[in-house]
């Protein structure tokens, strides 16, 4: 006879927080913030309820792709120090549960976004989920050192989706916000790869640091930063820019460029002497960099109805 009392009491029961951790809450914060900025920067106003619901569904979709990523990458996560405590390698959640949660929430979020906003926004969300979970996680990440470059696009789509929620169409401004995140992702992750040392080596992930070496990674960081600086400052002269954005961009990009230049000048001996202080500082700055750029776009958009924002 099967009896429910046979369930072992000592067995760990996943709590709600463990399932929530599968959704990568920190990535979701960035997704929500950039999608909100994309939506508010658009020249069409959105009803607050529709806006709130749509952004929530975008966040759920992003979380779903995070759960699918954790399901697929559980073997890598178990090896890397940075990710070993994630719910699946820690034994808190079964891989099948993560897969079910990811697939279920993907369907739910895309369907609900189609109802709350429009079909194009829902289509873009579906494309983003598939891009991250299938194209990046299942293929690119383990196949090419350019994984971060191309995979970075997945994280860059949310402001475009936000813009489409408001307007129902694409535009140059939306793609500029996309490009900002897209170009920011490689220097951000390569700086992390420099000071996380052996994590990616241990997991056999073909990070640039592993395949091309650390000096090459330093050169790549500088090259991508130069391109990013041109793009970020140039955006200041478009419809989503303005005095506040431009001032913010000039200061941040000067600091970012200086950081990338210092990283390029150093070698491993110098870096190990101060425990990668310059690389760590650059990584921390990169977090503020993106937040403040999008914050400035948001301020410009908020002030525009009062005749203050923009040009």
């Amino acid at each position: 006879m099967t009896d429910i009392t046979n369930t072992p009491a000592a067995e760990y029961d996943a709590q709600l927080g463990d399932y929530f951790a599968l959704l990568k809450p920190r990535v979701m914060q960035l997704v929500v913030f950039t999608a909100v900025v994309g939506m508010l920067a658009a020249p069409v106003s959105v009803h607050p309820v529709i806006g709130f619901a749509s952004i929530l569904f975008v966040a759920i979709g992003a979380g779903a792709s995070g759960a699918l990523n954790m399901w697929w990458d559980a073997d890598i996560d178990a090896v890397m120090r940075r990710t070993a405590k994630r719910p699946i390698p820690a034994g808190k959640v079964q891989p099948g549960e993560a897969l079910a949660l990811g697939v279920g929430l993907s369907f739910l979020s895309v369907m609900m976004l189609a109802l709350s906003a429009n079909l194009l926004a829902a289509g873009m969300l579906l494309f983003t989920i598939l891009f991250y979970a299938v194209f990046y996680s299942m293929w690119l990440k383990r196949a090419t050192p350019q994984n971060i470059v191309i995979g970075g696009a997945a994280g860059a789509f949310p402001p475009v989706i936000g813009w489409i929620i408001a307007t129902g169409s694409f535009s140059v401004e939306a793609w500029l916000m996309f490009a900002l995140i897209f170009m920011w992702t490689p220097p951000h992750f390569w700086a992390l790869a420099l000071f996380m040392r052996s994590d990616y080596d241990d997991a056999n992930v073909p990070m640039l640091t592993v395949t091309h070496g650390r000096p090459s990674t330093r050169r790549h960081i500088l090259a991508y930063t130069v391109l990013l600086v041109i793009l970020a400052v140039g955006t200041g002269f478009t419809a989503i820019g303005g005095y506040i954005y431009l001032a913010t961009a000039v200061v941040l990009n000067a600091l970012f460029l200086l950081g990338a230049y210092r990283i390029w000048q150093r070698d491993e001996v110098m870096a190990e002497e101060d425990n990668y202080a310059v690389e760590r500082k650059f990584f921390r700055l990169s977090l503020y960099y993106l937040f403040l750029h999008f914050g400035a776009i948001l301020i410009e958009a908020t002030l525009r109805p009062y005749g203050l924002g923009g040009w």
Partner: protein
């Protein structure tokens, strides 16, 4: 053995069940609000297939 309504499993999973319940309730409220906004924002007089007679200028829209 009598049927016990409260099993050890229930108390162990109480937090999880309450959390799912709250989320489902929130989802229901959200759908309700969305429906209300969509209905009040939609101009049904102009929706295709409605029997509302159009004025001369609207008929040419």
């Amino acid at each position: 053995m009598g049927i016990r309504t409260e099993h050890e499993l229930h108390s162990r999973r109480k937090g999880r069940n309450v959390g799912v319940g709250i989320m489902l309730a929130g989802f229901v409220v959200l759908i309700m609000l969305l429906t209300f906004v969509k209905i009040t924002q939609t101009d049904f007089a102009r929706a295709p297939g409605t029997a509302t007679p159009a004025t001369g200028s609207e008929a040419n829209d």
